[in-house]
């Protein structure tokens, strides 16, 4: 009872803030609403009893990804008059949403046994905590998939580095080890100076 009320509150807030993400004019506000909807998604995970997923959601999406989003969006040089012009993404949006909804309907109609998110109570894994269950699923049963996912991420990471790394000549670089290894004997020279007597 209490959980279902919470579920409706959280899902309403997710939808409302998701709507505000795409309608607000200021991109910083958009990102803030995006963060808010991540929060509520974490809340729904908590209601479903998946506390590990909820907190990982907070750590990864809110704590890292959205911070970098906000970081980038704040640095944008914004032209608000440009932003207020009407955009032409309506067709693309309708097509994408249509495909997504069709996919979901197909999934739920043809594979009804897959739609149940409630774990079978007789499952022997239920004696473990959430975290242990996820660990044994990912790292034991689906070990190869996990490795492949890791490789894909590695490729993506290297790709991002290759795309952004440019070696320019004529740039003065800092050599940390030479900076740290400076000492008095090498860098300070004491000279005897004789002062000429002024008249």
């Amino acid at each position: 009872m209490f959980a279902s009320i919470l579920f409706f509150i959280f899902s309403f807030l997710i939808l409302a803030s998701a709507l505000l993400v795409i309608t607000s004019k200021n991109p910083v506000n958009s990102v803030i609403f995006l963060i808010f909807s991540f929060f509520n998604a974490a809340g729904i995970f908590l209601i479903a009893g998946a506390e590990f997923l909820a907190l990982i959601m907070l750590i990864v999406y809110v704590g890292a990804v959205a911070v970098l989003f906000l970081f980038v969006v704040m640095m944008l040089d914004l032209n608000f008059e440009e932003l207020n012009k009407k955009t032409n993404f309506v067709k693309t949006g309708i097509i994408t949403t249509g495909i997504l909804i069709t996919e979901m309907i197909v999934l739920f109609v043809y594979y009804p046994e897959e739609q149940s998110f409630i774990i079978n109570k007789n499952n022997e894994l239920n004696s473990l905590t959430n975290t242990e269950m996820i660990g044994s699923k990912i790292y034991t049963e689906h070990f190869y998939h996990f490795q492949i996912a890791g490789l894909i991420l590695l490729v993506a990471m290297i790709g991002a580095i290759v795309l952004t790394l440019r070696h320019r000549d004529n740039v003065r670089r800092q050599d940390i080890s030479s900076q740290v290894s400076r000492d008095q004997e090498k860098n300070v020279e004491l000279k005897d100076i004789t002062f000429e007597e002024s008249e």
Binding site: E51, M74, Q174
Partner: protein, 330 residues
């Protein structure tokens, strides 16, 4: 009825914890000022009240009674929201901290993840405040702070994983009880050092207080904040600092456990040991501020990404291997 009573009980506990944290902040700021004064051969606060003990109260009242100034071009909602976020986040993380055995508001089984998640949200207060002020120096401070806190979270995460490998549970009470034989700072000493330094960077404490570096950025993201908004930032930062002290205590110094489980030591209640350890770590934080000059920003990023990250990653692998080979894994 019983349901309402239990909710009231939780409220009462939360108020007690918040009161305890605020008392810690009060004594902490007084002790820190006295400590810095002693290091610099000054007297420190000594006018208001006996030994200057009421100085933080006087500062608090002064800040409360000042006029809050909101810049004209600032984004007002976010400007006011930002210090609230900092303070809220820093205080709410205390819900899962065990002060002694069973002395905890919410004994959830992913406690350490909860603290990690909540403390990673602390950056929002700073970055939003810096942006909403609509001014150059706060914005620079906010940018620095965002990059810095995200960088050091990575190594903090790996250190936490190392400890978790030795415990086999994410529950904070279990982490403390796993240290009955030996406190983790002995076998995991390099991780203890890395966590200590990363905690300094994560809470924007000196020598990593670049987001508010007075010499370059006036006061960083706090430039435009005055009166009670500034007070909220101040309290939030102190609460976050004490949270980091509590985390070091729980992860490495055996939480509420006495150093030796022998007669005169183990009759002292656990909460006293916990507070003593937190105070000791806070004293170390204060000494670092008193003794170490501020880092340069590129050195800070280098330390995080090129030194701490590889070392902590290596230690995760090493710890896992040792636990596996000698069959010590819990």
């Amino acid at each position: 009825m019983e349901y309402i009573l239990s909710i009231l009980f939780i409220f009462l506990q939360s108020f007690l914890v918040i009161f305890a944290v605020l008392m810690m902040a009060y004594l902490g700021i007084y002790g820190e000022r006295k400590l810095w004064a002693a290091v610099q051969l000054r007297r420190g606060p000594n006018i208001v009240g006996p030994f200057g003990l009421l100085q933080p109260v006087a500062d608090f009242l002064k800040l409360l009674l000042k006029e809050p100034i909101i810049p004209d071009k600032a984004n007002k909602i976010i400007f006011i929201m930002a210090p609230l976020v900092t303070c809220f986040v820093a205080l709410s993380a205390w819900a899962v901290v065990p002060f002694a055995e069973n002395w905890v508001v919410a004994d959830i089984n992913v406690g350490i993840l909860y603290i990690f998640a909540i403390s990673s949200l602390g950056v929002y207060g700073i970055i939003l405040g810096g942006w909403a002020s609509n001014s150059k120096y706060p914005f620079m401070g906010a940018m620095r702070s965002a990059a810095q806190m995200v960088s050091y979270e990575v190594s903090i995460g790996f250190v936490i994983i190392t400890v978790l490998l030795c415990v086999g549970s994410l529950n904070l009470t279990d982490i403390v009880l796993a240290q009955k034989k030996i406190w983790f700072f002995i076998p995991l000493f390099p991780m203890f050092i890395i966590f200590f330094v990363s905690a300094l960077a994560e809470t924007n404490r000196p020598p990593f207080d670049l987001p508010e570096a007075e010499a370059e950025l006036v006061a960083g993201y706090q430039v435009e904040y005055s009166s009670s908004f500034f007070l909220l930032y101040f309290l939030g930062e102190l609460a976050a600092t004490f949270l980091m002290c509590a985390m070091i205590t729980i992860l490495f110094l055996g939480g509420w456990l006495p150093p030796f489980d022998i007669y005169p030591l183990n009759v002292i209640p656990g909460v006293v040991w916990f507070m003593l350890k937190v105070a000791f770590i806070f004293f170390m934080f204060g000494m670092v501020k008193a003794l170490v000059p501020r880092y340069r920003y590129d050195q800070l990023m280098r330390l995080g990404w090129k030194v701490f990250l590889p070392i902590s990653l290596f230690w995760v692998v090493l710890t896992a291997s040792v636990l596996f080979i000698f069959d010590l894994a819990p």
